[in-house]
Symmetry: C2
DNA sequence: CTGAAAGCGCTAACAT
DNA sequence: ATGTTAGCGCTTTCAG
């Protein structure tokens, strides 16, 4: 029984042992064409005896399909991504398609390399959460190469591809109105995304998600004739220390914010850490909103008001749309916006005078 | 410039356009053998003009290498896994190797299917965080097929492969002694892993991690001549409601625990939720320890005492060991145990009388 | 239903 | 340094 770690059995081997032709063996093993019960039985027996394992590469060469999709994300550690990936993998597994993941770490060159590598592997489709909104030539190249592409969570400029995203603008407007109704005029925002401050209303950032949020939140102020406090928007807060530095800078501002929006869970954690260290009380001294439905948001004091989006479903949908597009030279499927809701808890209160 | 989404350019196409033989083109494109500067230039120019993209499948067929590794995890959403995956992907990317992930959801059949699929894809190595300790025939089959295997976080029976794990037994002993020194004799534990309760000291569970922890924590009691409260060990708490049910059952026990160990962050969250809902005070009424270094553990009240392990490094190491084993028929590399430390915060106090 | 034979795109001898 | 020529393992006509 010592199957040495040598050459794996091939269709030819199976055919020989089963006493049929290679074509017949291939037909039963590959489940195509037709074959007699006798042949089928013999082939299966032989395959089992040799512990035959089909060579996916050979199949890919012939069919042009690799039964795999690529996923490129800016950040794998982001808990939101894990949930989306889980959704992607669930539909992938159900369809017998494997999932190849690559990280871009917000770096365009890494994203380029990842796309290149996945294209070489001839993935059947690509789900990408682009590093930047404003440069997408490489993604477009992949698209033109005939690989179906689905954008997840963020748009990219000039791409005629399906985008699975949630209604960040809607959530932003709700937040803006909510804060305004409570008398907040100084609202700050801290984001991971690298962009040059100060942000000016109407300006594009490199992230469609950030642009949507900023435009919506501060836009409601502009519409109400109130000067939006966009100078309180901080970018490029990637590390724990960088985030804390930005939060501190905001608090030390001459005219500090009375409300703070954390663009994700990691930032939320640092915001709370800094506020706690400084003895700033939420929501008495400052209100806090977080753009992530972190499971711990209800456990801190006070429970955090957060934006909730159906991340798992979005992952599933991205995969479904991607898979549906395989082999379809068809039109770009339009995916409706997913909801993004503000869940009110206790971290937002009236603005202090 | 309308490169239609048709057939991709091949080495042959490039060779023709460059006016050289297929072999020469292949040599410069594949960066092997030798070639003249002139040829190199011509080929590169032609390749660029045709936006040539090497076909990884074809290469795999010839070389037997796919430049990719497979990762199989029980649970992709687990934040710990995301961090490990990040480490794996970092070394993968540095080595030009892509990462194919598959989830087993604690299901042996899914794990089997995942292994099968990855083997068919001829991944160069496999990193597996096994669903169960006690059945590993399928993993062993992969191993015998000649694919290097590295186990991540948990062992599996009968496998002669490198295991990247942390010192759960050590952490468990520290916990046991710590709790004992504070007068706790009724120690409860809630775990995700499905196993039949009641647990008896010395017994194997389906998870090497759980076995190590249980044996260590309760073993220190047995050694001290104190009856270990293993009837307070709860398993199979996968969903939020299941976890809450188990925690409640523990609190409603005739002789309830004075200390509770949560086997991961998800369980920690539910433990806190239930305790808070019941108005049980930590650590006055009950002490809590969590087996995960969740970033929010310092933000809750009181800050949680947790077990910390170098998850990212473990991921990196798993990938390094896996990659090092590719093509090496060599001996199984022995990986030293990673540390697992108990970080004392304020959720553990003396046992109430 | 089954067999023979021609590729898929690339690598790897082997010549030249 | 470069060209020729076999394959790698499978799918897929095309005959029979």
């Amino acid at each position: 029984m010592w199957e040495r770690s040598q050459r794996q059995a091939t269709v030819g081997d199976v055919a020989r042992l089963a006493g049929v032709s290679k074509a017949t063996a291939a037909r039963v093993l590959g489940q195509y064409g037709s074959s007699s019960d006798a042949a089928r039985a013999a082939v299966h027996a032989a395959a089992a005896a040799l512990s035959y394992r089909p060579n996916a590469s050979a199949k890919t060469m012939n069919t042009g399909r690799s039964e795999s999709i690529g996923v490129i994300s800016r950040n794998v550690v982001n808990p939101g991504f894990a949930v989306a990936l889980d959704g992607i993998m669930a539909v992938g597994a159900a369809a017998g398609v494997s999932v190849v993941v690559a990280g871009s770490e917000y770096d365009l060159d890494l994203e380029r390399a990842a796309i290149e590598s996945l294209l070489n592997k001839r993935v059947d489709a690509l789900i990408v959460s682009p590093a930047r909104w404003d440069v997408a030539d490489h993604i477009d190249a992949a698209h033109r190469a005939g690989v179906p592409i689905v954008l997840l969570e963020r748009r990219a400029t000039g791409l005629e591809v399906p985008v699975v995203q949630s209604d960040m603008a809607g959530a932003g407007r709700v937040i803006g109105r909510h804060l305004r109704s409570l008398g907040h005029t100084r609202v700050g925002m801290v984001s991971t995304f690298p962009h040059a401050a100060p942000y000016e209303l109407g300006e594009e950032t490199g992230s469609s998600v950030m642009t949507d949020r900023l435009q919506a939140v501060y836009g409601t102020y502009a519409e109400a004739g109130i000067r939006p406090s966009t100078e309180l928007v901080r970018f490029a807060a990637r590390t724990s220390t960088a985030i804390q530095r930005e939060v501190s800078a905001l608090l030390d501002h001459d005219d500090p914010p009375t409300a703070l929006i954390a663009s994700d869970g990691q930032i939320g954690i640092e915001v709370l850490t800094v506020l706690r260290a400084r003895g700033v009380s939420i929501p008495r001294d400052i209100s806090v909103i977080m753009f992530e439905d972190a499971p711990w948001a209800t456990l801190v004091d006070p429970p955090l008001t957060v934006v909730v989006q159906p991340t798992y479903e979005m992952g599933r949908t991205a995969a479904e749309v991607a898979l549906a597009a395989v082999g379809t030279e068809g039109r770009v499927q339009r995916v409706p916006l997913f909801p993004a809701e503000l869940v009110l808890r206790d971290s937002v209160g009236p603005a202090p005078r």
